[in-house]
């Protein structure tokens, strides 16, 4: 089965996010003063061929812990979607 995985990588709480901080400071200057807690992360998308959804999830999870993220400074959320075979 073919799945598309989307991994949302965010900084862990307390880890600095210069891009987010800069955008948060810039938004009020453009008139949007009601915005706070801007965090900018990474989105990783990949396509995986696996036996089933559980196998695909397990492998992407392992890849996330092995290389795609650094658990000391990053959290991630994994979304998996089966691709139609067309």
């Amino acid at each position: 089965m073919i799945y598309e995985a989307q991994v949302e990588v965010t900084h862990r709480p307390g880890i600095l996010d210069p891009a987010g901080a800069t955008v948060e400071r810039a938004l009020p200057a453009l008139g949007w003063g009601n915005v706070s807690q801007v965090r900018i992360g990474k989105s990783i998308r990949l396509v995986i061929d696996a036996a089933d959804e559980a196998a695909a999830t397990a492998q992407v999870d392992e890849m996330c812990r092995g290389i795609l993220t650094n658990p000391v400074i990053e959290d991630y959320e994994l979304h998996l979607q089966e691709l139609s075979p067309t």
């Binding site: 880890i15 600095l16 996010d17 210069p18 901080a21 800069t22 290389i67 795609l68 650094n70 000391v72 400074i73």
Partner: protein, 229 residues
């Protein structure tokens, strides 16, 4: 007999000539260790110099740890061989799991390029065996991700085991507990953000880094002696 320092070269490493020049000035030989080959060419000590290994893509140091040379470095470290990671090399060592924690972006959110003062807080490591504890050294830093971070248990262990090797006197980047460099449990693997090789001659504005380089060479000499025996 002069000792040989293996200088690890990843695509994107840019301080390899500096460390080579600096250790050669002190009478040692340097040999480049290409990242694609899992060999250290009989080096007595290994330095992972600064730069942007593999472009620092994904995260600083993240891809470098999968280079074949890192298998050789891991084995060398496990045998007690002296391994020093400077700047990006420190980031590589944390990503490779040879040192705990990680380096996050500087607290001031700026790239820092300046000479700072560091204090030697452990004098029994491969980086500091020729320096007295408490010595203050002026050494340049040159980084964006130099702000050391780890969980509280790791920090407690680093402190109780006396593994914070050098601390910033005036913390420039927000680093946890003013940490500028740490070592592993066996004290033969050290990572630090400041660049001792850039403080290795009066012409460079400071030669305070020489004692750190001499410590590396001393540790390399001990290692070489053990080999010969």
């Amino acid at each position: 007999m002069s000792v040989t320092v293996g200088v690890v070269l990843f695509p994107g490493t840019n301080c390899e000539q500096d460390i080579t020049w600096a250790v050669e000035q002190l009478g040692a030989e340097a040999v480049m260790c290409w990242h694609g080959d899992a060999v250290l060419h009989d080096a007595d000590a290994v330095v992972i110099p600064g730069g942007f290994a593999h472009g620092d893509y994904l995260r600083t140091g993240a891809i470098a740890r999968f280079s074949p040379v890192m298998d050789a470095v891991r084995e060398f470290a496990a045998q007690g061989g002296p391994v020093i990671g400077i700047c990006n090399g420190f980031q590589v060592l944390t990503e490779a799991g040879l040192l705990p924690g990680a380096l996050q972006k500087n607290a001031g959110l700026k790239f820092l390029c300046e000479t700072v003062e560091i204090r030697v807080d452990a004098d029994d490591t491969v980086l500091t065996n020729q320096v007295a504890r408490g010595a203050r050294l002026r050494v340049p830093i040159n980084h964006f991700e130099g702000n050391y971070v780890c969980d509280s248990e790791t920090l407690a262990r680093l402190r109780s085991d006396d593994r914070v090797v050098v601390r910033y006197v005036d913390n420039p980047n927000g680093s946890l507990d003013d940490i500028a460099g740490i070592c592993n449990e066996a004290r033969n693997v050290v990572g630090l953000m400041p660049h001792p090789e850039r403080a290795s001659d009066p012409l460079l504005g400071s030669s305070d880094g020489v004692v750190l380089l001499e410590s590396i060479l001393s540790a390399a000499g001990v290692r070489a002696g053990r080999h010969a025996a």
